[in-house]
């Protein structure tokens, strides 16, 4: 059951350059998408989200793009900093009458930003 896929287990970029993390999904009922960052021994930390009615959301150095027709979203980090080195999870939820809106996670991409 891979409703949310992150096909790149790892990504390495130079400090100051752009990091692009990708995520694909298969469930057309998903209408809310999130990116989380996780350091070892900590829980996922919310970064940025996007609703399916938008195609872009920006917050400082982080921008999320959503392409609904391709069922694809991406996270851009510009400029990348060494402190951004972490595992990044893509997650999605579907609006449901019960109000659960449980998150379905990808496997994560480990980002390393080299000084």
């Amino acid at each position: 059951d891979q409703q949310v896929k992150q096909n790149s287990p790892s990504l390495s970029v130079q400090e100051g350059r752009i990091s692009i993390l990708n995520c694909d999904y298969t469930n057309s009922m998903f209408d809310y998408f999130l990116w989380y960052k996780k350091y070892p021994a900590e829980g996922p930390t919310f970064l940025i989200s996007i609703s399916s009615i938008k195609d872009k959301n920006e917050d400082g150095r982080f921008t999320v793009f959503l392409n609904k027709s391709a069922k694809h979203l991406s996270l851009h980090i510009v400029p990348s900093q060494p402190g951004d080195s972490a595992v990044y999870f893509c997650a999605a939820s579907a609006d449901d009458q019960g109000g659960s809106e449980k998150l379905v996670f990808g496997k994560g991409t480990k980002l390393t930003v080299n000084p």
């Binding site: 809310y32 999130l34 989380y36 021994a41 900590e42 829980g43 996922p44 930390t45 919310f46 989200s49 609703s51 999870f89 997650a91 609006d95 449901d96 019960g98 109000g99 659960s100 809106e101 449980k102 998150l103 379905v104 996670f105 990808g106 496997k107 994560g108």
Partner: protein, 113 residues
């Protein structure tokens, strides 16, 4: 900034014993969740809780699992008779409203011997 807190950070238990994992969600949040992550695998949903009842549970959440919100602040996950395969990181999360992000605690590492 308010955060979700979980205790203990690490729990070691003998197989067959009961274990209770505790969470204090963010105070004005209304929706509560438990997830788990087995080593090397995805974070997977266990159960959601709203308005003092379970709103959804996964196939993993069988009769050995239960959740409770005994007072206005705590949210607990109980595993009645633990199995080796219950060893995982357990994360509690909460959110304020619909289409709002879930915020996670730092997790409890459960080790079943």
């Amino acid at each position: 900034e308010p955060e979700v807190t979980q205790t203990p950070s690490h729990q070691v238990t003998q197989m067959g014993q009961e274990v209770i994992l505790r969470c204090v969600p963010i105070s004005n949040h209304l929706y509560f969740y438990w997830y788990r992550q087995i080593l090397g695998q995805k974070v997977e949903f266990l159960v959601s809780f709203y308005n003092n009842e379970i709103s959804e549970k996964s196939e993993i959440f069988d009769d050995q699992f239960s959740v409770e919100r005994p007072d206005g602040s705590n949210f607990t996950l109980k595993i009645r008779s633990t199995k080796l395969e219950d060893s995982a990181m357990y994360f509690c999360a909460s959110r304020k409203d619909r289409n709002q992000p879930q915020h996670f605690g730092d997790g409890t590492r459960l080790s079943i011997l």
